[in-house]
Amino acid sequence: MKKSFQLFYCCLLLVITGCSKYLGKEPDNRVSVTTPQKISQLLGSAYPKANYQSFAEMMTDNVTDITEGPLDNRLTDPYFFADSHETQEDSPEFYWFRCYTAIAAANQALVSIKASPDSALLSAQKGEALVARAYSHFMLVNFFAKFYNDATSTSDPGVPYVTEPETVVIKQYDRKTVKYVYDMVENDLITGLALINDNNYVQPKYHFNKSAANAFASRFYLYKKDYARVIQYANQSITNNNFAANLRGWNTTYANISDVNQLQSTYAKATENANLLLVETQSLWARNFDNNRYGLDASIQRILFKRPEPLTGAIWAIKQYSIGSVHILVPKINEYFVKVSVNADIGDPYVMVPLFTAEEVLFNRAEAYAYTGNSVAAIANLNTYASTRFSNYSATTNNITAAKINSYYATSNIRDGLIKAILDYRRTEFVHEGMRWFDILRYGMPVTHKVVLGQSSSLITLTATDNRKVWQIPSSALLSGIALNPR
């Protein structure tokens, strides 16, 4: 009897081990990341597929109360500097989630690379994963934490820096400090940057190519005020330093496109040299940016597109259109509508967003030159920019000079004048793109919005040190032990 029990026990053991293999079969055609190609494909998801442009732009001084047009909370909330309860596309919450989704993909790729027997051959993938992970965290910390500042960043709460895949439903995280996040970003960015190889990409413009990664580094060090590095990485970003050939041809190629739809779709095309990195985002911004009650109107158009532009005395070649003659737009936000089925009338709107452009790198470098005392180089950069932006531009008559800057900005300090000029050009160049918000954060500018109520109007102000300059973290983060931002 005892023997037969033993036999039975052995059989059971055999059966159970057999079962283990039998039950190890995946239940569906899910993908397991085993080959370098699959890891590369996974990294296609390591970019935040959410648009920050809408919410950021609506908090800047590029918009006002036009008093006409439909209302949409996703524009009204930021216009009123209010925390948004919106959770769908174009809301801070949506951006938060999509950034962390991108980070999760990067971390998953890193795990697969580590586990791969030929991880040495995967260094390019590792580079992309690290830089992509750094990018999402960098954007999150700038939006959801106090802006970087050498003095206070060692104590200002940051955002959780995630370096490994989450495997439980609710995990506890720590915000640490802004300084910590910046250090982590720097570490990942610099390690990754060295490993990136453009030959690895099917669609290099949608991945951190060498140029885009250097552009990211130039932005990172600009925000960190490490100007020597800004110049270093800006120089590495654009091939042969040939910015003129890589800026958008507003006064050349773009000037010849008469169809506004065509122009709009060209702006974020991969073949446009100025676009260093693109990402597809689920967003309604293309529908909202040019017709809602709060937006760009003629009064702000007159500030952004002075006729003539004071430093060059030229007329902007950037095309401006209007809707109902009150809503002003630059045709750069284009919608790609993804239908739920081939012949459906409903679906999800997408916007292709240029995350890094040659223009930004040029401005980053000019600003760094200005801060490092090389005003000649800074002015030269601005002239490169101007040469592509003004109709009938002439290098002789429209040349920007120190004198013109000092005179227009009424200063004797060329550095101050240069910074003001760069900020103004940036503001015009990146209208609708939300980039102004970062300048507002960097320079601690206040923002004032007009609120019209019937016949009367009032002003609401976001002060320089306003708590509302830091976007509110989604309340569900409390589950993970994350404190919300003060209000």
Binding site: L12, C19, S20, Y22, L23, G24, K25, E26, P27, D28, N29, R30, V31, V33, Q41, L42, G44, S45, W96, F97, Y100, T101, I103, A104, A105, N107, P160, P165, E166, T167, V168, V169, Y173, Q203, Y206, D259, N261, Q262, S265, A268, K269, A270, E280, N334, V338, K339, V340, V342, D345, I346, D348, Y350, M352, P474, S476, A477, L478, L479, S480, I482
Partner: protein
């Protein structure tokens, strides 16, 4: 039984030849208080008889006379051969009756004449005579060698067995809650889907016919829902093997009307005539051996087996007709009323000549198109007021009966033939059937062929084997349809090109007609293309074919007297094909080539827009041909089980039964679908494919063909023990250990132990009950256990799926891996603790039986979404955290109330109450998820609860409805995609809380009348969505429009909104107040109803007539199915309370008349 034996003995006493016979004689010598009668044997000395006993006291019936008796018996013989015959009480021979010697492994079955021979019976033995459907008898032959036994029809006796699929358990020993239904009691002649037959038959089993098209599954719930997002349907088991679904249809999909729903019924391939019995297992103890698949209860189907004896042949023929629906039953305006409404629309500027550029138009659009000259320059209709009025007047008088056009009184035939034969060593059962329905509508028909072949062999005393082959083939045609798409923007479900005949008749204006006055087909416009419904149904249809094949083998080997080994193995292969054929002449194909004017070109969504050339005009990309779209589903399933069974009875008091087993399941499913563009049906079947139609598909990021595979691997080990003490106390316990790959390949989540235990007390066996004659049986049961089910999450490891990026330019797209779900290391099965208390009783010899159960169930670890910080990369996670409690009670009361020689009345009433409550869920449903007809789930409410947008009157200025919107403010616009649900009104659950049935059978001589009523209550129904922002002259209008708002001030007397004029329609803009009205508190009705489900009259030919014609049985039944809805909420106005009018392939339940002929040879 003691009494009956005694009475017989008294008769024997007076019989002179009793001595000659070998029947045991009981000789009464004295009756107390009476003089001793003359001794018939006195003076005779016989060597044949001896005094076999001493004085004994007997009791008889009510008189309680005490007899003193001696009994004489033939001298003991070692073994007796008993010959006998078993019949029904009417004398009809019973075949296949089991005759066994109690406590011995000895037995036989009766042959076709009801005769049997049983050898080796000791005089002291008890012979048990039993067959399902009759009350068993135990007879002590006591020396008799001939037995004539008449069996009484069984009425819910406890002498039956419960078939769990793993074991057959004596009901007396059973501790769980289960209902055994004989097929003869359940069968509804003329119905083909056996799952629908269970409606109202078993307490606690709710069956809702959300659609009744052949092949679609009803919504079956045993004791209500146990899961929030997972499956709530029971497990179907046929002859011990789980019937796997071909495709898994989710709770909401069931009522979607999508073509896939026609593969939803797991039992559609089963011939109802092959079924012997159903066992519905309800509580944890009953379902224990299904462990982690048992959460929603189990329905076990046992099919017929061959019986030894001369071949018996049975034929069943059902001939049915389904009645056409009638306008009188619905609340739809006639054409004159509709025309007056259209005239209002015309006055309001809606029906101008501009409608010619509309997607759809009817009678007005047709009129405007006729005003244009034809090819010969003639004007079909003069542009004069008189001519137009004459045209419109004619339309007003048209009164087309669409139901008459699209439906027919169909003829359904079902022929089923079975042959049963066998010897003691081998038995065979063969059956085949053919079902043909030529279609209730002009667009559908079904043919089904089934085969069932079963052989059982007794190879030796120890070894028995059995083989079972079943096959079914289905060929079905249904109207062409696409999958519906939920459109939360407008609050509708979109289904392009829907031509569901019921939906069409219900929604289409009666001013339209099929033919014009010259008898030619009359075309109106739909999707910018000419449309005639009859022609469209001929040119756009789906052919479905299903092949279902099962091979099953069984082996049983007796290792020792008490230990038995059992094997059961099955292979099942199912292949189904849906061929959606859309010919070039169809409206659907023509819609792709309608580009007559630039207005149409710009609006027609079926044209191609080149993204590289955004300014260009859309172009036709399907210039020739139609479509050939194919969907294939395949299932390959193995199921193998090995078990050891030990039974022993110690000292006649301790009965032990132990079962140890192992099971492995393997199921591979494959789904394939393909869109075939440009197939030219009339042109030799050559496809004409314009490359741009593929370009369009690819540019929209859709695959033009698609294949998915699913792999289901499952293994389990189980141990079950039963112990009975002295027939009084039963104990039952099961542990089971299940493993599955369905949660993902991670090891942690894979295994789950489940367990249950129960006890029961046969009160009637107690000494103190011995004298209570009124009680046949009385049993108290209790059980408790853990069961489980797989939830709708599979991410025990990370789930990545391949996708193409959504980028504007095709040249910039690439293939990426998307993160679908993060790993959830804690993922586990959905579980449920069940407690059940039951009391069964039978009184007055079957005159009254009842079974009462109360239960409570606590589901936990249910999968639901929870919003988390998102820091891990996933904002909404599916996790095991939600809880659901449910409570309920079930009652079955019945009995053979009257039983006389010529007439009788049997009745049974079932009542089931179930209430569920989601006690914990942190999901974020949108308004649309909760207000739709299928309902949604939120904390604090039952599963699938219906909510409504609060109606807040009509606007004073234009009669547009007003609501309390998502922000709590009065508005015409409710944003249905908002997750702000606190302003909605809770209406009630969609599933009924109370369900049941009331069956009565009256018999008079050879006739029996059966009346069956079903009822349900406690749920709410969303009324059909009939209100729209804009109506075209295509739409039918319900009669409530007569009460609509027409002028300011009307809002105080009516709640029916106005019909919007062109100006107000423009004002409404992007809001959808009329769609919202469909989801408002005004459009909800109570779901309770009482339905006369079946009335049938059966004539059974009497046995002496049968003998003359050489048949064993002949019966003829006339039945009406669903003849009458006795009560439903008057708000419904003809809407069927069970049916979801979702278009596609959905059909409401039909009124049906059936003639059924049964012949037995």
């Amino acid at each position: 039984m003691k009494t009956s034996l005694l009475r017989k003995s008294i008769r024997l006493l007076t019989s002179a030849n009793c001595i000659k016979s070998s029947i045991p004689v009981i000789l009464f010598l004295t009756v107390i208080g009476l003089k001793l009668p003359a001794h018939p044997l006195s003076g005779k000395t016989s060597t044949d008889f001896k005094i076999g006993g001493t004085d004994k006291n007997f009791e008889t019936g009510k008189t309680r006379n005490i007899y003193k008796a001696f009994y004489f018996q033939k001298k003991p013989v070692a073994d007796t051969v008993i010959r006998g015959r078993v019949t029904t009480k009417d004398g009809v021979p019973l075949q296949g009756v089991s005759i066994t010697v109690k406590g011995k492994n000895k037995g036989t079955t009766t042959n076709e004449t009801g005769a049997f021979i049983l050898s080796g019976v000791l005089p002291s033995s008890t012979v048990v005579i039993s067959i399902i459907g009759f009350e068993s008898q135990e007879i002590k032959p006591a020396g008799r060698t001939s037995l004539i036994v008449a069996l009484e029809p069984g009425a819910n006796t406890l002498t039956d067995v419960v078939v769990t699929g793993f074991q057959n358990i004596d009901k007396k020993k059973f501790t769980g809650a289960a209902v055994t239904l004989k097929a003869t009691d359940v069968r509804m002649d003329g119905y083909t889907d056996v799952s629908r037959m269970l409606e109202g038959k078993a307490a606690g089993v709710s069956v809702q016919n959300v659609s009744s098209t052949f092949g679609s599954a009803p919504k079956v719930r045993i004791r209500g829902a146990t899961s929030i997002n997972g499956d709530n349907k029971p497990l179907w088991v046929v002859d011990g093997v789980v019937l796997e679904d071909i495709v898994n249809i989710s709770n909401d999909q069931l009522s979607s009307g999508d073509p896939t729903t026609l593969l939803g019924s797991p039992v559609a391939g089963i011939n109802a005539n092959d079924i012997e019995s159903f066992d519905i297992l309800k509580d944890a103890a009953a379902t224990a051996l299904y462990g982690a698949r048992a959460m929603n209860g189990v329905v076990v189907i046992t099919t017929k087996k061959g019986r030894s004896g001369k071949p018996s042949i049975n034929y069943t023929g059902n001939f049915s007709t389904q009645l056409k629906p009638m306008y009188a039953d619905f609340n739809i305006m006639n054409s004159a009323q509709q025309m007056s409404l259209l005239a209002e629309l015309e006055r309001k500027g809606v029906l101008t000549t501009g409608i010619l550029a509309n997607e759809n138009y009817g009678v007005y659009g047709k009129m405007y198109s006729l005003l244009n000259p034809d090819a010969n320059g003639n004007f079909p209709l003069q542009n004069t007021t008189e001519a137009k009025n004459a045209y419109l007047k004619k339309a007003a008088l048209t009164n087309t009966d669409w139901f008459n056009t699209l439906f027919r009184n169909s003829l359904m035939q079902e022929h089923s033939l079975s042959i049963s034969s066998g010897t003691e060593k081998s038995q065979h059962f063969f059956s085949t059937s053919f079902y043909n329905d030529n279609g209730w509508t002009i667009a559908d028909n079904v043919k089904r062929y089934t085969l069932n072949f079963r052989n059982n062999y007794t190879l030796s005393d120890r070894l028995t084997v059995g083989f079972l082959t079943t096959a079914s083939v289905r060929q079905q045609k249904v109207p062409g349809t696409l999958k519906r798409v939920s459109n939360p923007v407008t609050g509708e479900f979109d289904r392009d090109f829907d031509i569901n005949p019921f939906g069409f008749a219900f929604n289409t204006s009666r001013t339209l007609s099929e033919y014009d006055e010259t008898g030619k087909l009359q075309y109106y416009q739909r999707n910018y293309a000419p449309f005639n419904v009859v022609k469209e149904l001929q040119n756009n249809y789906i052919d479905i074919s299903v092949l279902d094949l099962k091979l099953q083998g069984e082996l049983s080997y007796k290792i020792t007297k008490n230990l038995k080994y059992d094997f059961i193995g099955a292979l099942r292969y199912v292949k189904s094909t849906q061929e959606h054929q859309i010919t070039e002449g169809s409206n659907m194909a023509n819609a792709y080539r309608s580009a007559g004017t630039s207005g149409i070109r710009n609006k027609n969504k079926f044209l191609y827009r080149d993204p590289d050339n955004p300014g260009s005009q859309p172009i036709i990309v399907l210039p020739y041909g139609g479509f050939y779209n194919r969907t294939e589903d395949r299932l390959l399933n193995f199921d193998v089980r090995n078990s050891l069974n030990y039974t022993n009875t110690i000292a006649d008091k301790h009965n032990i039964n132990i079962l140890l087993g192992q099971q492995v399941k393997y199921a591979d499913r494959q789904n394939f679908n393909n869109t075939g563009y440009g197939y030219q049906y009339d042109n030799g079947g050559i496809p004409f494919v314009d490359y741009r139609i593929l370009k369009q598909t690819i540019e929209s990021s859709f695959p033009y063909y698609d294949m998915t595979k699913n792999y289901d691997r499952f293994a389990a080990f189980y141990l079950n023990a039963q112990y009975t003490y002295d027939r009084k106390y039963n104990f039952y316990g099961t542990v089971r250990y299940d493993g599955s790959n369905q949660l993902g390949s991670s090891r942690n989540a894979r295994w789950l132990p489940t367990w249950s235990f129960g006890g029961s007390w046969n009160i009637d066996e107690e000494g103190f009950m011995k004298n209570v004659n009124a009680v046949d049986y009385l049993k108290l049961r209790a059980s408790y256990g853990l069961t489980a089910s797989l939830g709708p999450a599979t991410n025990s490891n990370i789930i990545l799926k391949s996708a193409t990026t959504n980028r504007t330019f095709p040249t910039e797209r690439e293939s990426v891996l998307q993160l679908i779900n993060l790993e959830n290391a804690d993922l586990t099965w959905e579980k449920n603790y069940q407690t059940n208390l039951g009391l069964d009783g039978g009184f007055f010899k079957g005159k009254l039986t009842f079974s009462l159960d109360v239960y409570s169930r606590k589901s936990f670890d249910l999968i639901s979404t929870i919003k988390v910080s998102g820091i891990g990369g996933e904002a909404l996670k599916a996790a095991n955290y939600a809880d659901l409690t449910s409570r309920g009670a079930e009652l079955l009361v019945g009995g053979q109330v009257v039983k006389r020689k010529n007439w009788g009345w049997r009745t049974s009433l079932t009542f089931g109450y179930n209430d569920t409550k989601i006690s914990n869920v942190k999901n974020h449903p949108l308004i649309f998820d909760l207000v739709k007809a299928e309902g949604g789930n939120t904390e604090g409410h039952p599963v699938s609860s219906l909510f409504s947008v609060k109606f807040n009157g009509l606007s004073h200025t234009n009669g547009v409805p007003l609501f309390i919107n998502q922000e709590g403010k009065q508005s015409t616009d409710v944003y249905l995609q908002s997750d702000s649900i606190q302003y909605l009104k809770y209406e009630g659950p969609v599933d009924p809380k109370i369900t049941g049935g009331f069956a009565n059978t009256f018999t008079y001589k050879s006739f029996s009348l059966y009346i069956f009523i079903t009822y349900q209550a406690g749920n709410k129904i969303r009324l059909y969505p009939v209100f729209k922002t804009s109506y075209s002259d295509f739409n039918a209008f319900p009669k409530e429009f007569n009460d609509r708002w027409e002028m300011p001030g009307d809002e105080s007397i009516t709640k029916v909104p106005s019909i919007v004029d062109a100006f107000n329609r423009a004002q409404i803009g992007q809001a959808y107040p009329y769609n919202n009205y469909n989801y408002s508190t005004e459009r909800v009705a109570d779901g309770g109803f009482v339905r006369l489900k079946t009335v049938s009259l059966t004539y059974n030919m009497e046995s002496n007539s049968l003998k003359r014609i050489g048949f064993n049985n002949v019966s003829l039944t006339a039945a009406a199915i669903n003849p009458l809805l006795i009560y439903s909420d008057p708000m419904l106005k003809g809407q069927d309370p069970e049916f979801y009018n979702s278009g596609g392939v959905a059909q409401p339940i039909q009124k049906q008349i059936t003639l059924s002929l049964k012949l037995g040879l």
